[in-house]
Amino acid sequence: MAAQESVASLKNVTLAYGSVRKGKVKALDDLSLDIPMGRMVGLIGPDGVGKSSLMALVSGARRIQQGSVLVLGGDMADAEHRRIYCPLIAYMPQGLGKNLYPTLSVRENLEFFGRLFGQDKPERDRRIEDLTRSTGLEKFTERPAGKLSGGMKQKLGLCCALIHDPDLLILDEPTTGVDPLARNQFWDLIARIRRQRPRMSVLVATAYMDEAERFDWLVAMDAGKILATGTPKALLERTDSENLEAAFIALLPEAKRSQHRKVKIPPRESSDEIAIEAHDLTKRFGDFTAVDHVSFRIERGEIFGFLGSNGCGKSTTMKMLTGLLPFSEGEAWLFGQPVDPSDLEIRQRVGYMSQAFSLYGELTVRQNLELHARLYQIPEEEREPRIEEMLERFSLEPVVDSLPMSLPLGVRQRLSLAVAVIHKPEILILDEPTSGVDPVARDNFWELLIYMSREERVTIFISTHFMNEALRCDRMSMMHAGKVLDSDTPAALQEKQNAPTLEAAFITYLEQASDDAADVDPDPPLKAPATATESASEQTSQTVAPKRFSFLRLYSYASREAMELRRDPVRGVLALLGSVILMFIMGYGISMDVEDLPYAVLDYDQTTTSHEYALNLAGSRYFIEQPPLANINQLDERMRTGEISLGVVIPPGFGRDLKRGANPEIAIWVDGSMPSRADTVKGYVQGIHMDYLKQLARRAPVGVNPVSAEVALRYRYNPDVQSLPAMVPAVIPMLLMMIPAMLTALGVVREKEMGSITNFYVTPVTRTEFLLGKQLPYVALGMVNFLIMVALAVFVFGVPIKGSFLTLAIAGLLYIFCATGLGLLMSSVLNSQIAAIFGTMIATLIPAVQFSGMLHPVSAMEGVGALIGEIYPTAHFLIISRGVFAKALGMADLYPYLIPLLITIPVLLLLSIAGLRQQEK
């Protein structure tokens, strides 16, 4: 095949993941492939053979390890080529709605992507209208993406991918977990778009072989290598098979092929025992009725199927049976007993697999199995063999020490299944257990189900989107919009609708029951918008390199972030209200003063003179007298319990010695466990002692003048030495560091954990735009925060601004940039949300409180603390804040302290950029 005819060509590509210690797993093994241009190319093969890895490499989301990947005529290892050509590639990752933002509405999601590709508002609106109309999403444009059904999510994902008229569309299992009706609509949509844009190449991975038959050209893969390429017809001919499923199995190497047998279902002996029974089961969420009076009876040992579109209430029904959701109405019984969420015995007999992967991503495959085996109390001697059996049965041996998150979807599903059956449950409730699982593994799995049903008489309640699986059920229910349309054997259902296949029967049932099918215009007009799209696509095909820096892309991320913040008002309120509350707490709570310190006197002398001395202390507002001490041991004991913090020992003969001029000594013991307090106490005690001496002197004969010089003390800026005016200007910098930093701290790492970071990998957005976009909304929120705190200081605490407010505001703005930048740095460098929260706390709380001069001047610090104090932004902003509030200073005096802030902002940004990868490793 000539080079210019292939849209992508891979040569000797090898990709391995996993750590060196645990042994690397090769996802792609010395693979070479040319993908033809302008065709619909399907990647087929079992799970974990490298389909997703291949797609991630072609899309530029993943870094190339070995070999070369040429896409659209350039090397994908070259960042410059990626910068120019990635905008012509659209990539939709695996998993329902993984690249969408769940709290944003359909329109907002689309607008976000439109802006990323530099489209102005009229163009965006036109495209959004065009795309939503042709996908039937136009009625739902204001609905949050998280609340769409699986099929609609995938359509929206496709719209987002198509909004910029890509030359290469990469879809990784786009229809996995999508119901047949929605799947049909999805492929019709793709076909229509291809008619409009014949130049566009499409690369699709799929687990549904019936879908693959529609494609132009197929690549069959196994174990990181290519088995065969060619048109579906060619593959069928080559293997002499009737359908692709059989063809694929025939293409497999001998060793693997031998594992596969055609699934045979022995007849079931009916039983009078009822394992699961539901009667008028209903679930409402607010006004919405998710499950509407559903009734069924499942006999013991029966395989009972649920077939229905996404969001029709299948999962909700299953969750109610497991006790995860309480039901609004109706009754349900398991083994003849009413469903009781607190009954552990029942749980022991039930196995459940939820639709979304819900095992521990941080535990290895074996550790997950072990954990569940133990939680289900499998006796120790049976545990190991059982785990080995599961590993073998679900072909998990090669990945036994891998982490589930590094495994392909299909393998993860197998692990979930293994976990669900590890304790040999009597009832199995499986919510779409096989979506994303390849045909061979699916058949193996069904063999196991059939074995369990027929030999062990396990009752199996399963929901599925695969028609051939539905056909294997003993009985099944067609479900739609919370209602069961009909229940019977698959053959009977087919007969009732007079349909040639079960799928046709299902669609007929659905069309009878729903208006949903009418949502999509079967043949949407290809009129004005389409031609406009076409002309636009001609332009983009000219390969105009995107700008290196685009405000629109930056704005795109910024507005997305702002919208997310608006959708979660609790966060904004917490941030604003929090600073108010904390300001009150700290303004009133921090006091360096010592008051009401408990003390006791040990008076060995017991004369009027000694009583007088003791009385002197008692008169002070700083101290509170406790019962006197009887002996020196008591002083020790009572100080140890914390009952007294000060002990005064007046020696025997004090009065006599004083009169004789023998200079008696009074011993004063201070609890030094809190040094700052002890220091203050020491000062007070000495002051009181001095007072006493003055009193003595006044009574003494004239001429004796023990204290001669005075110190006239003047407290500047805060004459009453109140803590409040001193603390308020210091509290503002501290809170303005911590709260904005925490707001941004999860910005990037959350996208990493949730998967939407892929948008950053594959769209033309640069790291600078991405980070600044995430920062700006929080800078704005921080400024609001700043203004509230300043207003609070002036109007509530009565701490006036004596200097230039403008200086304070400018400094505040720069400072908030520093604070949010620090949060983003944590977010870029770290990979888990917990670490980001903890890291941000460490990086803000201690330096801001301890090293920045809030309590102790930076000039007095030592060691690392002093170094941090010198460079930490809070230290500089604190000087500005105190200067403006208390010392009546302005820009002319304070500009030197703005410079460090100005330097910090780009430094933090550069560090974040360095810490953020532009591609997946």
């Binding site: 979660d568 609790v570 004063i668 800026y717 090293f851």
Partner: protein, 371 residues
């Protein structure tokens, strides 16, 4: 029996999850080692390296005697300045203290005219202002009386007050700073670890998965409490033994075991609090803010940063409900004053009661949020 194995297994799972996050482990190690070290060593003696500017209008033996008495580490060498620099210097924060020795100070003193030295204090520097002013007054007083003794043959003071410091004779700030920093880390880490672990389970759907198994919310919660508590307990034991005792060379008076018992009870309370916050917050970003909102008051108002006695009565009473208040009291009693069980049992009891309360509340919320 089943409950116990479940709790054990679920706890082991938590530990394994933690070990999968090397960055987090590194941060924990940092928090309990370098972090403790740097906050212990950075806290200055008060006043420590205080800046002082002097307008000396009386170049006399007495004024130089006074100035010579300002010595490191308490004071940086006094800077001679002019009247004009006095104001600008304080405005710019160059000097925390300025001293003005008036003309003919020595002569007036000897003439018995009670001359006054003016001392200006930058009262925005809270911690130094109070103690520093006291120090300076004392220095001036003792130097003048020493001067008078020598030159005028005046008697020594009729009564000497000898102040001695118990438990920390030199009032070494790092003792207190180090222990306080360990306590802060204990509280912070335990709340974050459990709260965030719960939210992560919810965000990833794993908690739902647990609930279809024969596992109860109590078991899930106790497992989190013991596993995260253990991590923090080990880290704090390490910090006290090796960072505080060995590296910083700070003598700890009491029994480390008794302290760890107190820490365990404290962790019981704080990890329960963490779970409580995990049930209140809907998402990780909300949790992050909630933690700030709770941790700052806990750290500042529990008596770790400033003495409890000087806070408003209402705050003192409210803070009795916080475990940190009791834990800080207990830690100071054991580690500095060498108190034993006979003395600290009220704090232990208070921690157990508060912990039990938080645990019950958190558990009922967890149950509710899971249903």
């Amino acid at each position: 029996m089943r409950t116990l194995t479940n709790i054990l297994q679920l706890g082991i799972k938590e530990l394994r999850s933690l070990s999968r996050d090397p960055a987090l482990v590194l941060l924990i190690v940092y928090a309990f080692s370098f972090n403790v070290y740097s906050s212990a060593t950075a806290v200055p003696e008060a006043p420590f390296r205080a800046t002082i500017g002097v307008v000396n209008e009386d170049p006399s033996p007495l004024s130089y005697r006074i100035l010579d008495a300002f010595q490191l580490p308490y004071f940086l060498p006094p800077k001679p300045i002019t009247h004009a620099q006095m104001d600008t210097g304080m405005d710019e924060g160059l000097y925390t203290f300025t001293l003005n020795i008036p003309p003919n100070f020595q002569r007036d003193l000897l003439a018995g005219q009670h001359p006054a030295i003016q001392l200006n204090v930058d009262a925005t520097q809270v911690s130094q202002a109070f103690t520093g002013a006291g120090h300076i007054q004392q220095i001036v007083n003792s130097e003048t009386s020493g001067f008078l003794q020598r030159y005028a043959g005046q008697d020594a003071l009729p009564v000497e007050a000898v102040v001695r410091m118990n438990y920390n004779p030199n009032l070494d700030r790092s003792w207190f700073g180090a222990v306080n920093s360990v306590i802060d880390q204990i509280t912070m880490l335990s709340i974050i670890l459990t709260g965030a672990a719960l939210i992560r389970e919810r965000e990833h759907g794993t908690i739902e998965h647990l609930l279809v198994m024969p596992v109860t919310p109590v078991e899930i919660m106790i497992a989190k409490v013991w596993s995260m508590g253990l991590v923090v307990l080990l880290a704090s034991a390490f910090a006290l033994r090796f960072v505080v005792q060995t590296w910083l060379n700070i003598p700890l008076a009491g029994s480390l075991w008794l302290f760890l018992l107190g820490a365990a009870l404290h962790l019981f309370a704080t990890t329960s609090m963490g779970i409580f916050f995990g049930t209140v917050a809907r998402s990780m970003p909300q949790l992050g803010l909630l933690i700030i909102l709770v941790l700052i008051p806990l750290q500042i108002l529990s008596g770790g940063q400033s003495p409890r006695e000087s806070m408003p009565e209402a705050i003192q009473n409210i803070m009795l409900a916080a475990p940190t208040t009791h834990f800080i009291e207990l830690a100071q009693a054991i580690l500095f004053r060498g108190a034993g069980l006979a003395i600290v049992w009220p704090q232990l009891l208070a921690l157990a009661v508060i912990g039990g309360l938080f645990f019950t509340i958190a558990l009922s919320r967890l149950r509710k949020s899971l249903n």
